[in-house]
């Protein structure tokens, strides 16, 4: 769809006509300019650096430069015991720390082959889904900022604050929880937690609708996102996309359904894919819509969990936690659906040590970001910002 021919010395001036780039001028000798977007730039969501080759406002090439937030996560894991890795996983995707812990815990549990109390599973799913909502709120809010709408961001953060309060009440921390441990939980949820959770759900439902109307009923927002950065489903799969990004391209792929773990098979929820009415399937708006609609599904999951959850009588969240974690020699790859996609952990044990020999994290953001070069070709700078925002990267997870 977007092509940029080069004629002789100069490049070609292009303009946008509906969705196509149309060549309007030829043989105009212009120079290309290297524009370093980031690592300190308001809309690269952290310390991503994009080296853009620009021709006027049109980007011929954008190459992501990574590594500004590299903290040797994988090497650190090789030097600490299995339970001590959990706080490090918090710091991968710091906007959805519960989900990262969850993914790591089920990976080690698979390696250890231990049985988890049912109530633990329910609490895990509840906190993970809560964190998914919080993470999507940040994604939607910052996406608004990327497009110049500041107010939805603060509405998002107002509601996210309540979720963080709930999670703080349960775990003692606001962002980096260290709550889901291998084989159990740090603590049981507080006595009134479920009641407050119900209150939150009744409070949040209308707020989510209001948030939707602020963005997706705004003509300018639609104009800025519809048909921008289209990723066809096959290319998305080839790039290894996952999560809302892949679903935005119309692929019904959710690990909670397709490779179920924990108690997700018992729960009823919909895998959200764009219907193509409001958006062009695969564009920025589809990805935004998937996130916005997924929050409702998460609320439904939480409601079901509250209803089905076993009581806390005689419940010890640490009962199944092994005294000393020393798995048998072997390796495991386990993956979970994070708010940003598939977070997989590959863990290798030599059977003797209490430390993993190798612990590799398959980061969703990193893989999603790899398509940047394809997505950015021929786009305008404002569209590039819209595309980066729709990928919803967390640099903590990209660089690890």
């Amino acid at each position: 769809m977007q092509e940029l021919e080069r004629v002789g010395q100069g490049s070609v001036r292009v303009t946008r006509k509906s969705d196509k780039l149309v060549i309007v001028e030829k043989d105009l000798a212009t120079e290309q300019m290297v524009l370093a977007m980031g690592p300190q730039h308001p809309s690269t969501h952290g310390v991503l650096k994009l080296e853009c080759l620009t021709d006027g406002e049109v980007i011929t090439e954008a190459i992501p430069c990574l590594g500004y937030l590299h903290r040797c996560f994988e090497k650190c894991c090789e030097n600490v015991d299995y339970p001590a890795v959990v706080p490090y996983t918090d710091r991968l995707d710091y906007l959805s720390a519960m989900n990262s812990e969850f993914a790591y815990a089920i990976a080690v549990e698979k390696l250890l082959d231990i049985e988890i109390p049912r109530r633990v599973e329910f609490i895990r799913v509840i906190v993970a889904e809560l964190n998914r909502i919080a993470s999507h709120l940040v994604a939607i809010g910052t996406y608004g900022i990327d497009l110049g709408a500041f107010t939805p961001f603060l509405f998002c953060f107002r509601d996210r604050e309540i979720i963080l309060g709930l999670l703080e009440w349960a775990s003692g921390a606001r962002m980096l929880y260290n709550y889901i441990w291998i084989g159990g939980l740090a603590y049981d949820v507080p006595a009134d937690f479920l009641k407050r959770l119900r209150e939150f759900i009744t409070y949040f439902r209308p707020k989510a609708v209001e948030l939707q109307s602020l963005l997706t009923e705004n003509e300018i927002f639609l104009k800025r996102t519809r048909g921008i950065g289209i990723m066809p489903a096959d290319v998305a799969i080839n790039y290894g996309w996952s999560g809302p990004m892949l679903r935005g391209s119309g692929v019904k792929w959710d690990l909670r359904r397709n490779d179920p773990y924990s108690i997700y098979p018992e729960l009823d929820f919909k895998v959200v894919v764009p219907d193509g009415k409001l958006s062009v399937v695969g564009d920025c708006l589809s990805r935004h819509l998937v996130r916005a609609l997924e929050m409702e599904e998460s609320l439904r999951i939480i409601e079901q969990c509250i209803d089905k959850m076993p009581t806390s009588e005689g419940f010890n969240p640490r009962s199944a936690i092994p005294k000393r974690i020393r798995p048998k020699a072997g390796e495991v790859y386990s993956r979970a659906e994070n708010p940003r996609g598939e977070l997989g952990f590959y863990i290798e044990s030599d059977g003797k040590s209490t430390k993993p020999v190798r612990c590799k994290a398959r980061s969703s953001c990193f893989v999603n970001l790899s398509a940047m070069k394809d997505l950015s070709k021929g786009q305008l700078i404002p569209d590039l910002v819209a595309i980066i925002g729709s990928i919803d990267i967390v640099l903590g997870e990209v660089d690890r």
């Binding site: 900022i145 110049g148 500041f150 107010t151 705004n218 300018i220 800025r224 305008l380």
Partner: protein, 372 residues
């Protein structure tokens, strides 16, 4: 040079009964052969810009955005954070005045100056009251339309002189935007000028005064007058780089656009210029379409509200509150709407606003000729 319609003003005030009485008195005021009155005349809008941007502009913007976004805004410095802006200015004053090594120093320094002068010059023809106008030009409106273009030079100087790619992008976008939007803006104002039959800002105001208050305003002058009104309002948003047309300083794309490299007092001057232009366009729209210093209240029988609320002092109040109302709308839009893309902005200007401006121009002309 007093004209008859103003004789109705009943409040006798120091030379206030005559049109431009205050300003003419000031022009004649000399001290030891020095034209001190002229200096005071020029200083009044300057003090006004400074006071308003300190009290209403920045503080108001922060508070309004806070209320729209479920937060409190500045609360710490002074009661309800009223002294926050003063504290900010004091901070900016103390900051080191940095000129980047690779910048073109002359352009970098002169940019904010031109920018401020551009917005300040238009205040010369703003009629703040029946008795006060900086310079009573017979081509006042034309001057106001033209002088806005000076700002483009300042923005270009600032953006080019910064020697920063983001600044350059911001400057180039800004120039394209302001130059384009001047066309619909000017045509829309011409509709107002046609309804008035004059370009003199004071005369435009006088023609809108009458005992029915708001009914005399040009907005209600003809059934199509709201089209140029809306067109000018939208175009004025673009001319002063306010959202949803704040593309030259789009913070999520261009960091801060043409003033990325500025800090300290130079930054404050750019800000002052921005708030100055915000009031300037708001004042122009209220003069041309909403009666400027005329009271919107009608005379209701023996309740002569219009007569009571007109006069030199009331005029200042109406003029400033009408201006502030439009500033409020500007802020309201800013905190509600996302930003347009560059090409969408140009599309809106050339393919929507300009044709409609021409249509309303023709319709207004027909109305003025054939409808008495």
């Amino acid at each position: 040079m007093s004209t008859t319609p103003l004789s109705q003003f009943s409040i006798p005030l120091l030379m206030g009964n005559n049109l431009n009485g205050w300003s003419e008195a000031l022009v004649g005021f000399n001290l030891l052969g020095l034209p001190l009155g002229l200096v005071i005349l020029a200083a009044i809008p300057l003090v006004f810009i400074a006071l308003y941007s300190l009290t209403y502009g920045v503080y108001g913007e922060r508070k309004i955005s806070a209320f729209m976004q479920d937060r409190l805004g500045p609360m710490e410095v002074g009661k309800w954070g009223l002294l926050q802006t003063i504290a900010d200015i004091l901070k900016l004053l103390q900051k080191e005045d940095i000129v980047p090594t690779s910048a073109d120093k002359f352009l970098f320094v002169i940019g904010p100056g031109i920018l401020f002068v551009g917005s300040f010059l238009a205040y010369a023809v703003l009629p703040f009251s029946p008795a006060f106008i900086g310079a009573s030009l017979n081509v006042g409106l034309f001057f106001a339309i033209g002088i806005v273009a000076i700002e483009v030079v300042g923005i270009l100087a600032a953006g080019w002189g910064s020697n920063n790619k983001w600044s350059l992008y911001g400057a180039v976008r800004s120039v394209a935007q302001i130059v384009s939007y001047e066309i619909p803006a000017a045509i829309a104002l011409l509709c107002g000028a046609m309804m008035a039959g004059t370009l003199d800002m004071q005369k435009i105001n006088i023609l809108q005064s009458g005992s029915y208050g708001f009914a005399h305003f040009f907005l209600f002058h003809s059934p199509i007058a709201w089209i140029p009104f809306l067109i000018y309002f939208i175009a004025s948003l673009a001319e002063v780089n306010r959202a949803p047309f704040d593309i030259p300083e789009a913070e999520s794309e261009l960091v801060a656009g043409y003033f990325t490299e500025y800090s300290g007092m130079k930054f404050a001057v750019i800000f002052l210029a921005e708030y100055g232009s915000m009031f300037m366009v708001s004042a122009i729209i209220s003069v041309v379409f909403l009666g400027g210093w005329n009271s919107p209240l009608p005379n209701l029988g023996s309740l002569a509200l219009n007569t009571w609320t007109n006069g030199p002092i009331w005029g200042v109040l109406w003029m400033i509150s009408k201006g502030f109302f439009f500033i409020f709308v500007q802020m309201w839009l800013r905190w509600t709407l996302p930003r347009l893309r560059v090409d969408q902005l140009m599309y809106l200007c050339w393919k929507v606003l300009t044709p409609f401006a021409f249509i309303s121009f023709v319709l207004t002309a027909i109305w003025e000729i054939y409808v008495p």
